[in-house]
């Protein structure tokens, strides 16, 4: 009798446990904590795009997508816990959404054979696929961003930055310091003076830094900020009446959460971006009608079309394309993490393909290779209109100065290879 009861209980338990979908993608989101204003739009965009594919197409290649949300609170330890909890559930890919978590996952995921995609963050030199076999950082890196910002400033100044002064207001962390080396090299090349100005975490008080900017009068101010540091910096820039059109943030300093608190003062502020702004794309319209209006959205729907939301859509679209290409290559609908890695390494998303998936003109074409784990390495400049509360992309996608950056990537990745005892593989 007792045995029967145990068997019945076990059977009930087994039927109660949901069957894992074949395409399992853990989403290491941060919907809580101090960085939630940046984390929520991305998380909503990523999930809503996957829901669109599930609802409209029945998933990808006939397999439904299972987005496993795990809350990290932007905390590195929690992110690693999320990884450990979910890696055994058939996870195909990790997008850590934090440089700290990325650094922790680089050795772990490489050993476990699961690809990691740090989208425009993390370790810049992971571009070198010969060293970082399982790590991807498409579509652009911080060093590319620094170079694009300089190129844009140079274009604004009629082709020369000779004798000009560029200040960098940066988060005093590994992330914030990323562009310094590149900017120093570019300063030497183009003859501008480079003034780095550090802001300690969290950046709630920046009076000293902005008084320094007021005294130094730089021609341009670049910003590598995060969280509250961004909105305070924009407010302080407005307070000292710094011309906003000469204040350019990296893509993590250019979302609604960064500019809205400064109100009218933020008008004209610029930032780099690697994808389109707004909702004027068929895929976003379909998300609205098929997912949000149907009440199947991940959040409350209010973030639709925001910078962070569109970034989530971009990440989801690239994930879906990699899955599709992996399925085509292997002939299996239920792919493995190794198949996913191979697909990410050979991922090709042409302009025509972007058009087909309803994202025509949303982002530049991607063409990955074994040696180049980040392509196309382009960024555009967008500008905030405080009255309309909209971002407008001002430029075409700008190419960075590969001549300066590629040797730095080579040097840094080889240093990592030596340190980690990795023999770089051959890429044909």
């Amino acid at each position: 009798m007792k045995l029967k009861m145990i068997a019945a209980a076990a059977a009930a338990l087994m039927t109660a446990v949901p069957a894992y979908a074949d395409l399992t993608i853990p989403a290491l989101n941060y919907r809580t904590g101090p960085y939630a204003p940046s984390g929520i739009p991305y998380a909503d965009g990523y999930s809503d795009y996957m829901t669109l594919l599930n609802e409209r197409d029945g998933g990808i290649g006939g397999e439904r997508i299972n987005v496993l949300e795990c809350e990290t609170g932007y905390n590195t330890e929690k992110g690693v816990e999320c990884y450990e909890q979910t890696k055994g559930q058939g996870s195909l890919l990790y997008i850590p959404q934090s440089t700290g978590i990325t650094y922790q996952l680089i050795p772990k995921a490489s050993a476990d054979g699961i690809p990691v995609w740090s989208m425009a963050y993390g370790r810049t030199s992971a571009v070198n696929g010969k060293v970082f076999e399982w790590i991807f950082n498409l579509p652009v890196t911080y060093w590319d961003g620094a170079s694009v910002a300089v190129k844009y400033a140079m274009e604004q100044e009629g082709g020369s930055l000779e004798g000009k002064k560029i200040a960098l207001v940066y988060h005093n962390s590994a992330y914030g310091k990323e562009p310094i080396r590149t900017l120093e090299a570019l300063a030497a090349k183009h003859g501008f003076e480079f003034v780095p100005i550090a802001v300690d975490h969290p950046g709630q008080e920046q009076k000293s830094q902005w008084l320094q900017i007021r005294r130094e009068r730089p021609d341009y101010v670049f910003m590598w900020g995060w969280g509250v540091m961004n909105s305070v910096a924009i407010q302080e820039a407005a307070n000292i009446r710094y011309p906003m059109d000469k204040f350019i943030g990296v893509w993590w300093s250019g979302s609604e959460a960064d500019v809205v608190p400064a109100g009218e003062g933020a008008n004209g502020y610029k930032s780099l971006t690697f994808h389109g702004a707004g909702t004027d794309f068929p895929a976003l319209q379909e998300i609205k009608t098929t997912v949000i209006d149907a009440g199947k959205n991940a959040g409350d729907g209010s973030k639709w079309g925001e910078v962070g939301y569109n970034r989530g859509v971009y990440a989801a679209a690239m994930t879906a394309e990699a899955i599709r290409q992996a399925q085509e290559k292997t002939g299996n609908a239920a792919i493995t993490a190794a198949d996913m890695r191979d697909a990410l390494e050979n991922l090709t998303v042409s302009d025509a393909r972007f058009e087909e998936i309803g994202l025509g003109g949303f982002a530049p074409a991607v063409s990955q290779t074994c040696g180049a784990h980040s392509t196309p390495r382009l960024a555009a400049v967008q500008q905030w209109n405080a009255a309309d509360k909209t971002w407008t992309v001002l430029t075409d996608y700008i190419e960075p100065d590969f001549e300066i950056i590629d040797p730095l990537i080579q040097e840094d990745s080889m240093a990592y290879a030596t340190e980690a005892g990795i023999t770089p593989r051959e890429c044909n």
Binding site: R31, T32, G33, P34, A36, P37, I40, N172, P196, I197, A198, V199, D200, H201, P202, Q204, E205, K207, S208, Q209, L211, Q212, R214, R215, G227, V228, S231, V232, Q235, A238, N239, I240, R241, A257, V260, P261, A262, G263, G265, G295, D300, S302
Partner: protein, 328 residues
């Protein structure tokens, strides 16, 4: 006048203003410590909670809307009205008093006579609870707080100093308002503590709560009152800091700025919080101006603590704190 001297003068003035903002946060700590011997770790979160509540009320946001919508399948977010800042501040104060009552009723009164470390741990728990509760109640979105306070360069000071020295000083209008508000707040708190019946009762409880009980002072009432006043101070700090950076969860981290101020000024002195704030504000800004560029900048966070540690070594009770004498 040499340019560097002018810059230094500007830095000192801005340091004084920043110090006032630090002192506003420190005041909340002092009030509760003075009355109950509790180091309230949750003071920074109280400022965040007060500011979140103020914005929520002003914008007519439905509290717990995410929870309500998830449970009942509704799509509620806003009531559809907006409330003027003054009325919203008063309503927020009502919420803060209710919170003070709940904190006392469910936590503090059960911990009377416990070791200070137990009370401190309880406030750590309260801080994390309130952070999550605030998130659940009002959402994690960054919110714009505009109660009509002026912000940006003060044109008059800029023009006057430019005419006098050939260099216009930057002083933020919001900092000037914060200084005036802080001065009024300190005067009001000192008058309250020294000249009102409740204020004297509060001081009596602070000196010896058992003796105070024996003469008929209600400990519960005094603690609710003190937490309410600390809630009011938190609201003022939340408005000032929230106007600068928007209301978001990092606002709770302003408590980190108050700790060196408390170490310097003493945990039991209201004027000490102000003077400590001013010293920290000027000290860190001057250090950043003079030494920062030589050491890569970003010296403010750690320098404030170094300054406080130096004071601690020579005056453990802080510049204005009561000297602790233990008799054996």
């Amino acid at each position: 006048m040499p340019e560097q001297l002018l810059f230094a003068m500007e830095v000192i003035l801005n340091g004084l203003m920043a110090g006032v903002l630090y002192a506003l946060v420190a005041l909340g700590f002092v009030l509760i410590f003075k009355a109950s011997g509790v180091f309230n770790y949750a003071q920074g979160v109280l400022a965040l909670f007060a500011a979140l509540t103020l914005v929520g009320i002003m914008e007519g946001q439905v509290p717990f809307s995410h929870l309500i919508n998830a449970i009942f399948g509704t799509d509620l977010h806003h009531f559809g009205w907006e409330i003027p800042a003054i009325a919203a501040i008063l309503l927020t104060m009502v919420v803060m008093v209710a919170l003070a009552y709940l904190v006392n009723h469910y936590i503090m009164r059960h911990l009377v006579n416990q070791d200070p470390i137990i009370l401190f741990m309880a406030t750590i728990g309260l801080a994390y609870f309130l952070e999550g509760f605030g998130d659940l109640m009002w959402g994690s979105d960054i919110k714009n707080l505009d109660v009509g306070l002026p912000q940006g360069l003060n044109g008059f000071i800029d023009e006057t100093t430019f005419n006098a020295f050939g260099y216009g000083f930057f002083i933020d209008n919001l900092d000037i308002v914060a200084s005036v508000v802080a001065a009024l707040l300190v005067v009001a708190l000192v008058i309250f503590a020294q000249y009102t019946k409740q204020g004297r009762a509060m001081r009596a409880v602070a000196d010896d709560h058992q003796a105070a009980l024996s003469v008929g002072i209600s400990l519960n009432f005094i603690w609710v009152m003190v937490w309410s006043v600390a809630g009011f101070v938190a609201l003022v700090a939340g408005i000032m800091w929230g106007s600068k950076s928007g209301v978001q969860f990092s606002l709770s981290l302003i408590a980190l700025k108050a700790l060196p101020v408390l170490m310097l000024g003493g945990f039991t002195s209201i004027p000490g919080a102000i003077v400590g704030g001013l010293i920290v504000g000027v000290g860190e800004k001057l250090f950043e101006f003079a030494i920062g560029p030589m050491v890569g900048g970003a010296t403010e966070n750690w320098f404030a603590y170094v300054l406080a540690l130096v004071v601690l070594v020579f005056r453990p009770q802080g510049l204005f704190g009561d000297k602790i004498i233990e008799r054996v």
